[in-house]
Amino acid sequence: MDEAPRPRADLPWRLALLVALIALACAVVLSGLPARLLARPAAVAFHGRDITAENWNPAFALADVEGKPRSLEQFRGRIVLLAFGYTHCPDVCPTTLAKFAQARRLLGADADRVQGVFVTIDPERDTAELLRAYVPAFDPTFIALRGTEEQTDAVTKAFRANYQIIQYKGDTLVDHTASTYIVDAQGRARVVTPYDQTAAELADDLRAILKSG
């Protein structure tokens, strides 16, 4: 004998649970958490050191060789490839800038999306005139920046880099971090590239950032 179907005793609970879940979903969406999660760049494997999660606040307030004030925000929309150095440096700085130039060449048409920036940590000797001749010798699109001692300290601190001016046997030498930095088109510090990484590896990292956005 068929029993009349009994109304499900747990239906109100299931309904309540469904409503609660919908309410929770609305709350989560309204809170913006998914938006924030989506905005974070997808995890990418770099040759260099990935510093995305360290949430640096890279910034600078310096002048270009024409004396115009330059800040990092002005470069939004392009990747910034930044190196610290000085023109009295016989070896590391020319090799680094040559590496930047070669990495840009390896990007082909995407080279336009990358801006090379050289920040002098020896602004006393590296005059605007000298930098205007020096930096374009590596790549005509590169920009040289210089500032006061305070501005130079501020930018190296923002990039967690070190430099030290030494008077040594009648010459001024500057010890400095030889690693370089990649800031993406949204102004986020993404990669620290060690000095001995190749131009090809640097180009790989740039391509990865261009792809992931």
Partner: protein
């Protein structure tokens, strides 16, 4: 016969004399060969106003020797510099001597280089820079080697890091490993 002996002695003397006058290189005693062979020397070009530059080369000595200095008319001072990394910073310092073990090529290409300080004029590609290397031989006696190093473009990479696909050589100390 005495005359024949005298003639033979005269001929021998003449032969010796002619041999010396001829100055055949094969007769040069080995100590006169240069103490150090210099391969692939070059100097980094500069832009107007730059005060310093670097010279690079490979040195092979025929005996245990030391490079103790250098000079050049293009700079006020020329020094031998060693590079290493201290606290994540690249640093270079003058060294008083660089060992050149016998028959062992020593590259001045990154860890060591010749530093020009107080350049007297811009170094332009096409120029050939005269330099003198000051050495001490195995007995500590001073010797010098003259060379001319061609100027290469400012943007010439000295470290293989820039060459596409080339792995960097070990021991260049750029990643914080203490050097020396």
């Amino acid at each position: 016969m005495r005359t024949r002996r005298q003639l033979a002695a005269l001929a021998a003397a003449l032969a010796c004399g002619l041999g010396q006058a001829g100055g055949a290189p094969a007769a040069q005693p080995p100590e006169r060969a240069p103490l150090v062979t210099v391969e692939d020397p070059w100097v980094r070009g500069t832009v107007e106003g730059q005060t310093g530059s670097g010279a690079y080369m490979r040195l092979t000595s025929r005996e245990d020797a030391q490079l103790v200095g250098a000079s050049s008319p293009v700079a006020e001072r020329v020094e031998i510099h060693e590079m290493h990394t201290v606290k994540d910073m690249m640093t270079m310092r003058r060294i008083e001597r660089l060992a050149l073990p016998a028959h062992t090529p020593v590259a001045l290409d990154h860890d060591y280089h010749v530093m020009f300080i107080g350049l007297k004029h811009q170094l332009v590609v096409g120029e050939s820079v005269p330099m003198t290397l000051h050495l001490l031989d195995a007995r500590g006696r001073p010797e010098s080697v003259q060379l001319r190093a061609p100027v290469r473009p400012l943007a010439t990479p000295v470290h293989p890091a820039v060459l596409p696909g080339t792995a960097p050589a070990a021991g260049h100390g750029a990643t914080g490993t203490p050097h020396g």
